[in-house]
């Protein structure tokens, strides 16, 4: 083999091994995009610790001269952090658990069973994925009121219990696709051995479905955590989650400081508040990240 081909292979790579030049270009692109993704988070972390002098000083870009921890304290109080955190965790945690259970059952039925009306129901599933929430928000609002859920956590969790609510349809689709990838022989063998449908589901399917369960749980948790549209309409004052607290904090701050200079100062507190809000899902992601990435690959999301 001559020298030219050898260098070419080293630089640009072959099917099995990525070449050096390719890796270099790759890193350049990836680092740039990573910067775009991390930039807002760095911006937030740095702004929240600045005092008013550092904030106005253009020479102070990332690291403030003195750390102003008081911003965090003010944001903590302004958000009513502990009680709002509890509400957020309750809504997101329970919502995600209910989503996993209800959507897995429906997905299992769609993937593994033949029944009359399946095509129509699957069509309706796709339809409910496509409907923008704003189209149905008004009747939903009235329905929640009539059910007596208005202002309570049930206004959000109640929908998750039945496998709907925030992108419930997407989760059913994810589970359906995942269960389809499992070989049919698996549950047939168990059934021949005399196991009933429920037993097959819990002893054979659920342990295998861990990646899908993890993906759905994490997605559902985070989307519940971040949801503000419906939440702002149906959740009452005593159940306010963190994201809504941020809204309230803004209104309070706007009332307090009206001049332009004070608005600048508000920014630090708002950034501190934002930081406090993303910390819990960030920790959850840091813990679940490894399994999440693997899970995503194995879910084979859609055929």
């Amino acid at each position: 083999m001559d020298k030219v081909v050898w260098t070419q292979k080293k630089l640009f790579g072959t099917q099995e091994k990525t070449g050096w030049l390719t890796i270099l270009v790759l890193y350049a692109i990836l680092l740039n995009i990573a910067y775009l993704y991390l930039n807002p988070i760095f911006y937030m972390a740095s702004t929240m610790l600045k005092n008013s002098v550092d904030l106005l000083d253009p020479s102070v870009r990332w690291i403030p001269r003195s750390f102003e921890w008081n911003n965090l304290k003010l944001a903590w109080q302004g958000l009513n952090y502990m009680s709002a955190l509890k509400n957020s965790v309750m809504i997101s945690g329970l919502g995600a658990i209910f989503h996993v259970i209800a959507c897995a059952l429906a997905g299992y039925a769609f993937a593994k069973f033949k029944f009359p009306g399946k095509t129509i129901l699957f069509g309706l599933l796709i339809l409910s994925f496509l409907i923008p929430p704003q189209t149905i928000v008004i009747p939903l609002f009235i329905l929640i009121k009539n059910l007596g859920w208005m202002g309570t956590k049930f206004a959000i969790i109640g929908q998750a219990m039945f496998g709907h609510g925030i992108r419930g349809a997407l989760f059913v689709i994810i589970f359906t696709q995942f269960f389809r990838t499992l070989p049919k022989e698996l549950d047939e063998a168990a059934r021949i051995d005399g196991a009933g449908s429920l037993r097959v589901l819990f002893q054979i399917i659920v342990p295998l479905a861990k990646p899908a369960i993890l993906v759905v749980f994490l997605f559902s948790f985070i989307w519940h955590w971040n949801e503000t549209y419906l939440t702002s309409l149906v959740i009452g004052a005593e159940n306010t989650p963190l994201t809504l607290s941020l809204f309230n904090l803004q209104t309070v701050l706007q009332g307090l400081y009206e001049s332009e200079a004070d608005k600048m100062f508000n920014e630090t507190i708002r950034m501190a508040a934002s930081f406090l809000i993303i910390i819990p899902p960030l920790i959850l992601y840091a813990i679940g990240q490894r399994w999440f990435v693997e899970g995503v690959e194995r879910t084979g999301l859609i055929e």
Partner: protein, 292 residues
């Protein structure tokens, strides 16, 4: 005869257990999807007033829809603007997700770290928090100001597209932030292509470039379609969507009937757009089948 009867009973039993599993979801489908959907359709043809005794409805035919297009200049204007913006954003997101997913799927040191970073947007992209950060102007590309690109665009691109283009550039980073799920979908898609196909291509002397166009891209076609649909759905429920705010506003001040009509116009447009995309992909695949 007896055999047939037994088979039938197995089928019946299967259907029965399927419906048992589906029960919670079916109840939810009725309560949270079909009922609200028909009710809002019904309300969109009514004049809805809220009084002390509850809601009073008066049928007014198509008036709400007529008003939306003829009287309400805000709605149609922002709808058209948003559609134009989406027209630019959708291809950007789909192509960007394709690029990133392919990069993340290659083999190199530090891949795990990059993956962890690139999934971050999935965590934050839907939040109020992100809106908060981007209000501070961290969303645009600094290159734009450095090289004075904006005036250049204003002078050289036709007015109809210059405005949405600038709007898109202003929130370019947000657009990229919204491609988290799409990256995941393509990554999952890449896993479905079996390794031996690449190995065979390599033995036949195909370069990575050729294998990308001849193997990877065709195999990814369904995932790209899915991504496009997901992006459309996601985009039209975007927290920054001006339409969303408008509907909320009308719900409060103009009345439920009118807000429902807006919601339905919105839904029909989303639906038509998705149908057009599916048609487009169908034609592409037919075209490439013919060529083969």
């Amino acid at each position: 005869m007896q055999k047939r009867k037994r088979r039938l009973s197995i089928e019946v039993r299967e259907a029965f257990s399927a419906y048992a599993l589906l029960t919670p979801w079916l109840i939810g489908l009725g309560m949270f999807v079909l009922y609200p959907l028909t009710y809002s359709l019904y309300m969109s043809f009514q004049d809805v007033r809220i009084t002390g005794d509850g809601m009073i409805m008066k049928p007014i035919g198509m008036l709400n829809y007529k008003n939306a297009f003829l009287l309400d200049n805000q709605f149609s204007a922002s709808l058209v603007n948003y559609l134009k913006e989406s027209l630019l954003i959708i291809p950007i997101i789909v192509l960007f997700a394709l690029l990133v997913a392919i990069l993340l799927n290659m083999k190199y040191p530090g891949k795990a770290l990059f993956r962890a970073i690139f999934f971050l947007p999935v965590i934050f992209a839907t939040g109020q928090v992100l809106t908060e950060i981007f209000y501070q102007g961290a969303a645009g590309l600094s290159i734009l100001d450095q090289y004075n690109i904006k005036p250049y665009i204003q002078m050289n691109v036709p007015q109809v597209f210059a405005e949405p283009l600038l709007a898109v550039l202003d929130k370019f980073v947000i657009v990229l932030w919204y491609s988290g799920v799409q990256i995941i979908i393509i990554l999952a898609g890449l896993q479905t292509i079996s390794k031996p196909v690449y190995e065979a291509a390599g033995i036949d002397g195909a370069s990575p470039w050729e294998t990308f166009w001849k193997i990877t891209l065709p195999a990814l076609k369904p995932f790209i379609l899915l991504n496009t649909i997901y992006t459309i759905v996601d985009l039209f429920t975007f927290p920054f969507s001006p339409i969303l705010e408008l509907i909320k506003h009308h719900m409060k001040y103009t009345g439920y009937g009118y807000a429902s009509a807006l919601g339905w116009i919105y839904f029909s447009i989303v639906f038509v757009v998705i149908m057009l995309v599916m048609l487009f992909f169908k034609r592409i695949s037919r075209h490439s089948d013919n060529r083969r």
